[in-house]
Symmetry: C2
Subunit: 248 residues, 2 copies
């Protein structure tokens, strides 16, 4: 109970069959348990950019873990307003919201050609009863998602445009560097509109705010290519108003 929060992802992404146990299930299983888990995890599925992994309302059977690529998840209202609820990169799990009603509660869309592992939930649940640490890990993952959602609420409820964008960029930076990529030089995989939707802003505001950061010398923005020149300044901006960097 006192261990560190689990690293959801390691740097070694490209294994053989399905490297998922390394990615999102670092639970300390023994050899036999590993085998059981492998038997349950389905071969990975490939998606092209723009393809739906699942849609809101579809029957829920499986969770999906990103192996490679990039996803967004979003809920939309009847009149077409769309709210991006998260961006998901390698090692991250999608579909947890589907358990409650046995149907998916959001859309998951690939932002680039991607690959996911399918985790049939029934079987994972059964397996969790045999492997306590696996069960515990799943509870932790779901709880983690709740914590993340709470910090998004804090962001949407309290922060100004500049603070939101700074928090967003810093969060991206942190997650990328945790995966072995450069922390301060990266490519955005999503459009300004999608960023805006996530942050509760219009795309013009996102664009203007990026420009402002650039003018101040904090960033270099070349379309989707972002270089953080003075990350400390961005951190100073969100220091105070963020509880943690658990956005995603």
């Amino acid at each position: 109970m006192t261990e560190q929060t689990p690293t959801l992802h390691t740097l070694k992404v490209s294994c053989s069959n399905c490297s998922l146990r390394e990615l999102c299930l670092p639970v300390g299983l023994n050899r036999e348990e590993m085998a059981q888990l492998d038997a349950v995890i389905r071969q990975s599925r490939r998606l092209k950019r723009g393809e739906y992994l699942f849609r809101s309302g579809e029957g829920f059977r499986s969770l999906y873990a990103v192996r490679t690529g990039y996803f967004k998840t979003c809920v939309s209202s009847q009149d077409g307003r769309e709210q991006v609820t998260g961006f998901h990169m390698s090692g991250e799990l999608m579909g947890l919201d589907g358990i409650s009603a046995s149907q998916h509660g959001c859309d998951a869309i690939a932002l680039e050609d991607s690959e996911v592992c399918e985790l049939p939930f029934n079987r994972m649940e059964t397996l969790g009863r045999d492997i306590p640490s696996l069960q515990h890990h799943f509870f932790r993952l779901m709880s983690r998602e709740i914590v993340r959602d709470q910090s998004v609420m804090l962001l949407l409820g309290n922060m100004k445009a500049e603070e939101r964008l700074a928090a967003f960029l810093l969060n991206l930076s942190q997650r990328l560097s945790a995966r072995g990529f450069a922390a301060y030089d990266f490519i955005l995989r999503m459009s300004r509109e999608e960023i805006g939707s996530f942050l509760g802003l219009k795309l013009e505001t996102v664009s203007r705010t990026l420009s402002k950061f650039q003018q101040q010398g904090w960033l270099k923005v070349d379309h989707k290519h972002i270089q953080m020149l003075q990350p400390e300044e961005l951190k100073a901006l969100v220091a105070g108003c963020a509880q943690a960097n658990s956005l995603r």
Copy 2:
């Protein structure tokens, strides 16, 4: 997997020892399983208005289910901005966000004299392995929380003040009537400021919007006493922009 989403609460709140199995765990357990569960659930704890049930950062050991009374949960940033993440009434569970880091991620504060049941999480987890339907129920509850958080994001990211407040009132109305209270005539347990914090608005805006609803004849507002005179109008306002009424 195809059953209805569980009613988290029944109308019979005042039982003997701990009526929690009726409230938040309607899982279809047999007599022996019930006994096991009863053995794990701790005696209820009473709190006075304003008292903290737990605080962000405290060690996490238990989930808490509201037996009677009313709570708010909130996260706060270092510089003191507070975001109310939810209001909780009888039968609802608090503390799920604490599992991930083994410490509570928010504060839980009684809005009136209240009573909760303590559910030691370790023991519940163990019990879940013996009672599959209990385990499944917990996954559902957590997933449900994630779904709720997503609709709050939609609200905070996309909706205007009037829509937010209408959605909030309708959600309250629905939850109260599910507990056997009048749907269209109730007392707010929280201040304007707390409503505002939850909805991402300032208290003045909440007040003004309530006044506006009253002027239009949709509500009668007498301090904390709300009567919904034309709920259809409120519904019309949120129709389209809400995906479901799963705020809380």
